[in-house]
Amino acid sequence: MLKVTAGSDVAVSGRSVITAARGSAYETKTSRSVALLIRLRTVRLPVTASAAPGASLCFSVVLCVPGGLPGQTGSRFSGFLSVFSGSQRRCLPRAGAPRAACSGRWSGFMCGWEPRREPPHPANPRDAVEAGELRPLYMDFQATTPMDPRVLDAMLPYQVNFYGNPHSRTHAYGWESEGAMERARKQQVADLIAADPREIIFTSGATESNNMAIKGVARFYRAKKRHVITTQTEHKCVLDSCRVLEAEGFDVTYLPVQKNGLVDLELLERSIRPDTSLVSVMAVNNEIGVKQPIKEIGRLCRSKGVFFHTDAAQAVGKIPLNVTASNIDLMSISGHKIYGPKGVGALYVRRRPRVRLEPLQNGGGQERGLRSGTVPTPLAVGLGAACLIAQQEMQYDHHRVSMLANRLVQKIMLELPDVVMNGDPEQRYPGCVNLSFAYVEGESLLMALKDVALSSGSACTSASLEPSYVLRAIGADEDLAHSSIRFGIGRFTTEEEVDYTAEKCIQQVTRLREMSPLWEMVQEGINLKSINWTQH
């Protein structure tokens, strides 16, 4: 709980961030509701009382865009950015300026909003979306996550004020950026996974981290070791990197998974050869949410002297990960999956025992020579903030997400027959629910659920006509693979959204089943597997 009392006014000297607001007094109900006021000059501001307490997701973020270049007397940016939840949107003017004159660079952007009136529901969802009126509920947290406003607050000063290159050794701009970057590296990213900060390399995302890990390690040890092991349910970037290695002459084993999506440890042990350099198994699958036995795989790999890489993009910040306890040698982290910014990620590379890798990106030798290129300070700071928040709220979020996921699944399965959950029911991250609705095609169901943003493993949603390879790998029937929908639940999902999604889903599946010849045949007692279908 954050309690901000009235009358507390903290003056700012230099460029520090304060977290008290003058003239505003409100208590937030959950630890996740935060009010921040960032001031970067010693300017006192009247802050009007802000958002309503009590709403479970209510928070207000008030940001002050800082003043201009040194030497300028006035502030270049005279407007404030004010973002409120719900329909309260107000702009807080600078002290002394007339209320209405919310001028400045941001005026056209944020200030002067009026509360939205309820628009009439248009017939075509496309028109509605283009008109900016109707936006679906977001239930696709595996695809990406909205940035937590606290992360944005942490990043913004580094976008406009502390804009130095962190690798500039000679002036304060560089020093302060470097400080922020190192802080992000140490306090936040490294602490989340119990690593040493020297083991964290900032990259542009988990895809780059995966590429670096797989290609880098394999190529470095190519003299003696030419074998790499991975699974069939990995992310495309891992599979594609392995394909490139195969073209270079490496041997790659793509391990099959069991029906529940988990890797068979005995099969993995049998597959490890004396010339295996790397085993890559993802921690949490992005399509079916299955949690692989990382500890056991790590122990096995350490005993055999093989490096263990895990793509933890969906796992970091959501389930507890400890690189030492799990014997992980390389780990990929993604920013935009943990409510951080897009375009940043990290790679954990173990120092003891040292993992060497050939860099993919050469240049000035930044990031220990493993990933040259200027580290984007705002993005790194954002990733750090996201990791810090995730560490603090992991338990709470996990509990809440499990509760919501159970609610969704139980509601749906109680009302609808012939619904299959893909992936192991126990060994999973609860926020990723993949359900197959028999006799209903996935894309038509997505179209029916047009006011909920979901994802499907159906072929029609991909460019090819093939259903998802992950569902095929777990042995799902082809027609069930076409009928799967992935529900993603995250930090900002509410109970009402889950209830609405479940009800809509039940309604639409029933309607589509009425339209389905397969459902009709099954009702008549025909066994679908006995029919000789016409193939194209």
Binding site: S85, D148, P149, S455, E478, T494, E497, L518
Partner: protein, 167 residues
Amino acid sequence: MAMASLRKCASPLVLFGRRLFTPEVNALCLYHKKVVDHYENPRNVGSLNKNAKNVGTGLVGAPACGDVMKLQIEVDENGKIVDAKFKTFGCGSAIASSSLATEWVKGKSIDEALKIKNTDIAKELCLPPVKLHCSMLAEDAIKAALSDYRLKQQDKKEEDMTAAESC
């Protein structure tokens, strides 16, 4: 109720920018209005009595491919199609294609119905190239229904002939 939940969910999510660019919305945006219309208000969903002599049933596609269409036509004594019903397991374009197919065959004679081409269906619905197979399946469904009807008519004729001979 949707609005209330939308507004609530709008709280932390819809902070900056009014546009939503998730793949789902893009897919929806790629759907032509006509496809959405046929999908929301499908015409002629249902079943006819498949054992009736003047009803032809065409079942094409495969669940493994993600597309199954069942098209049924009812033909009167003059060879004109008086009723058509469909049921489809497939994506929005497949449902729209089969719905349009039933609309078009109604009131046509058998020979005219045979002339319906998948390209016409695709053009009418403005299907993108990746969805052209849906219109092809719809054309196959029409042809399958018509040939099933013809088979039934042939069987009927043979039955009548054998009945006449045995008398």
